[in-house]
């Protein structure tokens, strides 16, 4: 077995019996002075750990005595700078401690500044949002207007294409519509069995106010009443272009086309003599 282990089991450290108080009396002053060697110090502390009150009290007295040795040091005073540095550090730490310990009753200035900045940002954001909304609305309205215009153009194009087709297709039947008043211009009509009727004219007079022109289809069957069709007006320059879609089989049953002047909104039956008539031959 290791000799040190044996010694420990026997309560012996560095040759000292830790249970023998008398062995340590001579070490008390040196222990208080911190002058014991490592093993001696360990042995002495082991002895104190046994609860020896006499040695413990003696150590206390010796420590007090050792502390008196500090007065052997020659008188000297630290610089004023040392105190200044020290007080600066202490005051800063005291302020920091007070700042963290203070209750939250008061709102610090930096927090008010933060709230104000947030408020400004919020208000700006709201104003900016409204501005953007207006811009979006304007853009949408413009887009809608352009869309409607595009649709109108597309419709006009479709009408124009239809008209062009009617006018140029070999299956279209062309006939004149003669005016009742010789002072009135002659109109020309093109009737395509599938695409419909196109009536055109120049220098057509504008009907009276609250009046409109109306197209009629005169059936071949005897005693049949005229079939009402579209109402229309010429443009400001007197140009007339009328497009009428009709079922394919209407043309075969129609004897003539007639145009009368009717009240605004049209009539179920002619209320005046035809201003133009054109027979399909």
């Amino acid at each position: 077995m290791d000799p040190k282990r044996i010694a420990a089991l026997e309560g012996r450290i560095a040759g000292y019996d830790v249970n023998n108080c008398g062995q340590f009396r001579e070490l008390i002053e040196a222990y208080a002075l911190g002058a014991l060697d490592a093993e001696e110090g360990t042995a002495f502390e082991a002895h104190l750990a046994t609860g020896c009150k006499d040695c413990a009290q003696a150590v206390e007295e010796a420590r007090w005595l050792v502390n008196q040795l500090a007065y052997l040091a020659p008188s000297a005073a630290p610089s004023d700078m040392l105190k200044a540095r020290l007080m600066q550090t202490v005051r800063a730490e005291a302020r920091a401690a007070q700042g963290s310990a203070q209750p939250k009753a008061g709102i610090p200035l930096w927090m008010w500044a933060g709230v104000a900045a947030l408020l400004v940002l919020t208000m700006y954001s709201a104003w900016d949002a409204r501005r953007l909304q207006k811009e979006i609305q304007t853009v949408n309205e413009s887009a809608a207007a352009e869309f409607r215009q595009r649709e109108q153009l597309q419709q006009e194009l479709a009408v124009a294409k239809r008209q062009a087709h009617i006018l140029t297709d070999a299956n279209s039947k062309k006939f004149a519509m003669w005016p009742h008043d010789t002072q009135m211009p002659k109109l020309e009509a093109m009737w395509h069995p599938e695409l419909g009727i196109c009536v055109m004219g120049q220098k057509v007079p504008m009907p009276s106010s609250n009046r409109t022109l109306q197209l009629w289809l005169i059936p071949k069957a005897p005693g049949s009443k005229p079939m009402p069709s579209l109402t229309f007006w010429p443009d400001a320059e007197g140009k007339l272009v009328l497009m009428v879609e009709n079922p394919p089989d209407v043309m075969a049953d129609t004897k003539a086309l007639a145009i009368t002047e009717e009240p605004a909104g049209g009539s179920p039956q002619p209320t005046s003599a035809p201003m133009w008539v054109g027979g399909l031959s």
Partner: protein, 195 residues
């Protein structure tokens, strides 16, 4: 062996230092400044005696008092007077500065800076101020055998052990141990005799 007359510390009496230390717990800067003004000279003198350099001494003193400010709770008034505790802290800090990593520094680090419980202190020291205390200690130590004074100063101001002192002075280890013990005993007798 002379035994100091120990009387239980009057629990109703609170020393000015103890009151000031208690105020440190409330982060009282004025209390700290008072403690510094009262004890910085003796602390600085001790530290300077150990480290032998004014700039280093001021660093150590600053460290000691900042430790006091930040860890005032470590000092318990029930454990004894404030000054011995403060001086023990200062001495240990100075000795740490004096040595680098070594066996002797390890021994210092093993020793706690806190004093063990002290029931009281010799009654004859109660009324002394620092100046009178210093005069008395110097007078008594001056009356010691020069070898005794030398070994005590080597142990206290330089932190040397028995063995190191013996090697330094080239004296037998037993002789050094005897000089230390007898010298401190005479110091005790001398302080008691001059009351």
């Amino acid at each position: 062996m002379f035994l100091a007359v120990l009387t239980p510390k009057d629990s109703s009496e609170v020393s000015p230092d103890a009151m000031l230390v208690h105020q440190l717990l409330q982060r009282d800067v004025d209390a700290f400044e008072q403690l510094y003004d009262r004890h910085s000279r003796i602390v600085y003198a001790l530290v300077l005696r150990i480290v032998q350099q004014a700039s280093t001494a001021e660093e150590v003193v600053q460290d000691v008092f900042l430790q006091l400010w930040r860890n005032a709770s470590r000092y318990d008034t029930r454990r004894g007077p404030f000054i011995p505790w403060l001086m023990a802290v200062a001495r240990n800090r100075a000795l740490d500065h004096l040595r680098l990593k070594s066996e002797r520094q390890r021994r210092r680090e093993d020793q706690t800076e806190e004093l063990p419980p002290v029931i009281g202190f010799p009654q004859f020291e109660k009324a002394l101020d620092d100046k009178r205390r210093a005069e008395r200690v110097r007078a008594v130590m001056g009356a010691l055998n020069p070898q005794q004074k030398k070994v005590i100063e080597l142990a206290y101001f330089e932190g040397l052990s028995h063995t190191e002192i013996a090697e330094t002075l080239k004296e037998p280890l037993g002789t050094v141990k005897s000089w230390i013990r007898n010298g401190l005993l005479r110091l005790k007798e001398g302080l008691q005799a001059t009351t």
